[in-house]
Amino acid sequence: MRYEAPDTIKAAVGLLSKAKGTSRILAGGTDLLVQMRSGMIEPDLVVDIKSIPGMREIVAEKGGYRIGAAVSGAELEEHGKVGKMWPGVVEATNLIGSTQIQGRATMVGNLCNASPAADSVPAMIAAGATARVVGPKRTRDVPVEDIAKAPGKTSLAKGEFVASIFLPKAPARTGSAYLRFIPRTEMDIAVVGAGIALTVNAKGVITAAKVSLGAVAARALVVDACAKAIIGSSLDDEALDRLAAAASAAAKPISDKRGTVDFRIKVAGVLARRAAVIAYDRARG
């Protein structure tokens, strides 16, 4: 195994493109080192991207924010402004692991680990985030929901990696939230996660919404039926019931050590409803 810490994207892409065998990106390392330790993967090359300029930065762009691939959850939180615009995304990212994990873990890592239970992913999807993918051929911006394909599998080609996440400018009167269910109060992987972003008009009627569910399918789901259930409403009880029913209907989970099918289906609805209430209150200020 080889460790490299290039200082340009080009050099990193070059290393990854030429590498034989398994290669992995190191940013926060909170998934990578666990997988190496368990023998799940044995990379021949590890490319540490933290020396590349911009990777640890958050910059304002077109009214939104571009977040470097190596920005940790703690750094994201301390930034303040991102959390003000997209509280759901920042809260979701801050739910990943302990204080110690927050010191290292990144949104991009959470995304590219391609776990269906990744906390930040439904929140990013709901916010309409895009991932900037750099690679040997071209740089492309990809909706976050198109990165993970299946557990542990991404749509990235050889030589490609995600260099940043872009969170667009939130429209006026937009609120976002992410809630997850875990058996303990901390330190668990989501049994179910629900991310939502919604926009209301001056009268409090929902004009736009995006809802994403985690841990109920092979990858985070975008549930249009959930959005439809509440658009045009003032999030009254009937709208919430429709939302919960749509979330439960969309959930196609499995039973495993973390939860059962029935539990995940039921709680997907409960969390979608609760997250919507928070997002709605935030949207109305």
């Binding site: 058996p183 901390e186 330190m187 668990d188 059962t260 029935d262 409960v270």
Partner: protein, 771 residues
């Protein structure tokens, strides 16, 4: 509390005992200097790693180690062939440390390597080729008792014809009993306790409650993985540094397994990073020794966390049936139980102790408990804090909670009505001496937590618990240093602050200051045999031996004073840290302090030391009552523990802070057991959650402060009245939390863990039945 007249030396007034000084090993532990199992290193040491079975049950057709042996940097590869069976060794332990022909559980050791570093050792493990033939497996206790279950040890355990036995319907299903009895079974033992006639007793009952219960296996979850460093010389002299609760046990067992004279093996215990019973046997120690013997170099073996979960000694899972009958006034008239515990791949589940503890809190005229010890394709269980007792208490205390509800009685009052007290003939045989259950119940009832008003979806639970407490073989030496300070050598590993307690008792007995005594845990060559630190025996047994060793030293010091003064030895007494003439007619001499006696030791006959060796008895049980408040989220089944109170009898709290610490730690382990901890097996019989991510021990934000009340009903078997306190605290929480949940939302959990999916499913079941 009246004291036994035969114990005139029972002290009731104390200077040092009952204070809360800083522990002697504290500074090393807060600075990172304390050396735990994995912190030892020897020059030239190799790294040892163990290859483990990926199958729950498989015939090992062949093991090819040649490629691993050929890898540069590999110094030894061993299989069972390198640990030949020795006459008189414990065969189950031998097979458990290294599979012989059959892998009996996921994680069972199959081979081991020693190499120059971890990287080479890992490569070498991958080069070992094991040809397995996968066999049918069984991990559930009820399944394992069925006639058609895969048999783990063909030819070893006779079949059981349940139809002739008590409560057969609760042992195995009716269908199974119709089938022909098989040639062999997985039932390794059967235990029966009780007295009176339960069948007659139930006829007097106004209310009878009976239910079946299941608990999943849990792990002690000590934060320090097993670790040891072994060094075997070519002349057969061996040293082992190891984290263990029982260095003498490790020495004797390893010597027996490896065919060594006990004198050849010296075991030095490290600081121990938690044990809770899980470090009372051997796993890696004989393997490390065998590797070192073959490699001719020191070998260090440290388990990974995943190995700890897969291949050490979790506790049993249990399937139980409990029936209790009561009169309208709450008096219990009969109790009956069947307990089935699986103990992993070998006999030895704690079902016997679970059976003895089940009804021990209550004064019962008609009681019967039948326990079955069953083998399954799981790691061989080891002790876990009050082994066997939390499960049976979960069932019994749950049934009592339901009876109280049915009778409209207060949960503490019904227990007070039936509580065991001095003179009660216990359900397992002996008659209790002075015990403190009633006192714990009264203190719990008087506590402010019992009066807090509860809100919506909140509930309160109560449960009591019992643990025998062990005593056993103990040997202590106390040496007087030249300056009058003392070196106290103990043979019981300090798992929870016992050195502080021993120093307090020695200081108390001598009338000197706590700081003047330094306690060390001796290696196995420096002290006589000591039993394992288990069964809450240390503060009792080593405390007793410390006090008696000090008394021995005091006699010798008085003798030296007598010599100096030229008066008879029996004319000298010891008081306040000095020898005094026993009375005015003994002579008028100024007292000789311990420092003065120490300074003159050489001139008066040589070094001064006190010793005491005993196979102690009279440990005195400890009872507890817990009260817990919970809040349940009815939409998700999530539970929050709002308040938790532990009231327990300590006899005499030597260092109250560490007594409270035992209460609090046991309670939180119990909370973990009831809420989220479980061994989760896949269909293939492999463990699915072998890590702290998915084996969910409580984290700091999961629990509230744990309130404690120390009750002190002195134990006449100890000079200061001490009772062990380490274990009882884990007995009540399972039922206590379950009873609280029942009070909050009307759902009675009878299967543990009460994880949110189970609670939610139960809630929906209740809702459906109401609809």
């Amino acid at each position: 509390m009246p004291l036994d007249a035969n114990t005139p030396d029972l002290r009731t007034e104390f200077k040092s005992v009952g204070t809360r000084p800083n522990r002697p090993d504290g500074v090393d532990k807060v600075t990172g200097r304390a050396r735990f199992g994995a912190d030892f290193a020897l020059p030239g040491q190799l790294t040892g790693l163990i290859l483990r079975s990926p199958h729950a049950h498989a015939k090992i057709k062949s093991i090819d180690t040649s490629a691993a042996e050929a890898l540069p940097g590999v110094k030894a590869v061993i299989t069972y062939k390198d640990i030949p069976e020795q006459e008189g060794c414990d065969k189950d332990v031998l097979v458990n440390i290294m599979a012989r022909g059959t892998a009996l559980y996921d994680g069972h050791a199959v081979a081991a390597v020693a190499a120059v570093d971890a990287s080479v050792a890992r490569k070498a493990l991958k080069l070992i080729k094991v040809d397995y033939k996968v066999l049918k497996h069984v991990t559930d206790v009820d399944e394992a008792m069925k006639p058609d279950a895969p048999v783990l040890h063909p030819g070893r355990f006779d079949p059981v014809d349940f139809s002739t036995l008590e409560n057969a319907a609760h042992v195995s299903g009716k269908e199974e009993r119709k089938t022909a009895t098989p040639a062999h079974s997985n039932i390794a033992g059967r235990y029966v306790f009780g007295h009176g006639d339960p069948d007659k007793g139930f006829k007097q009952a106004d209310v009878i409650v009976e239910h079946e219960f299941k608990t999943e296996a849990t792990h002690q979850g000590y934060i320090e993985p097993h670790a040891c460093t072994a060094s075997v010389s070519s002349d057969g002299m061996a040293e082992l540094w190891v984290c263990t609760q029982g260095p003498f046990m490790v020495r004797d067992v390893c010597a027996s397994l490896l065919g060594m004279d006990v004198s050849r093996l010296r075991v030095t215990p490290s600081e121990i990073g938690g044990g809770f019973g899980g470090k009372t046997t051997v796993f890696i120690e004989p393997v490390a020794l065998a590797l070192s013997r073959k490699a001719g170099k020191p070998v260090k073996v440290v388990m990974s966390r995943s190995e700890v979960f897969r291949a050490t000694g979790p506790t049993s899972s249990a399937s139980m049936w409990v029936k209790i009958g009561a009169k309208k006034d709450g008096t219990f008239v009969a109790a009956d139980a069947v307990l089935k515990y699986q103990g992993g791949a070998f006999p030895g589940s704690p079902v016997e102790m679970g059976a003895m503890c089940a009804f021990a809190c209550y004064d019962l005229k008609n009681v019967r408990i039948v326990g079955y010890d069953v083998v399954t394709n799981r790691p061989k269980q080891a002790a876990y804090r009050a082994p066997g007792a939390p499960m049976s208490a979960f069932a019994v205390e749950g049934v009592i909670g339901e009876i109280a509800d049915k009778l409209g009685m207060d949960a503490i009052d019904i227990r007070l009505k039936n509580a065991a007290k001095e003179g009660t003939v216990s359900s397992y045989g002996p008659t209790f001496g002075p015990v403190g259950l009633v006192e714990t119940l009264e203190a719990a009832k008087a506590h402010k937590n019992y009066k807090v008003k509860l809100g919506k979806n909140q509930g309160r639970g109560v449960a009591s618990g019992f643990w025998f407490n062990f005593a056993g073989n103990t040997c202590v030496s106390i040496n007087l240093n030249v300056d009058g300070t003392l070196a106290l050598a103990l043979g019981t590993v300090d798992i929870g602050g016992s050195r502080a307690s021993m120093c307090l008792m020695a200081a108390e007995e001598l009338g000197i200051s706590y700081e003047d005594v330094r306690a060390v845990i001796a290696d196995t060559s420096s002290l006589g045999y000591n039993d394992i630190s288990e069964g809450s025996r240390v503060t009792f047994s080593s405390g007793l031996a410390t006090i008696k060793a000090v008394r021995d030293l005091k006699v010798r010091m008085c003798g030296r004073a007598a010599k100096i003064w030229g008066i008879p030895e029996d004319a000298v007494k010891w008081e306040n840290g000095a020898a005094h003439p026993a009375g005015s007619n003994a002579g008028n001499f100024p007292p000789l302090s311990i420092k003065e006696i120490a300074a003159q030791a050489s001139a008066t006959g040589g070094p001064l030391a006190g010793h005491y060796e005993i196979n102690a008895e009279g440990a005195g049980p400890s009872f507890a009552t817990h009260v817990c408040d919970v809040e349940v989220d009815p939409d998700t089944g999530a539970m929050k523990v709002l308040r938790y109170l532990v009231v327990q009898d300590a006899g005499k709290a030597i260092h109250p802070s560490y007594v409270e610490g035992q209460f609090q730690g046991g309670a939180v382990q119990g909370i973990g057991w009831v809420l989220n901890e479980e061994y989760f097996y896949g269909k293939d019989g492999t463990l699915q959650n072998a890590g702290f991510l998915d084996y969910r021990v409580p984290v700091c934000s999961d629990v509230p402060m744990i309130d404690t009340v120390i009750v002190e009903v002195p134990n006449p078997g100890h000079p200061y009245g001490v009772r062990g306190v380490g274990e009882t605290s884990i007995v009540p929480p399972l039922a206590c939390v379950a009873n609280a949940v029942s009070s909050a939302i009307g759902v009675r959990a009878r299967t543990l863990p009460m994880s949110p999916p189970r609670v939610l499913a139960a809630l929906e079941g209740v809702a459906a039945s109401k609809a």
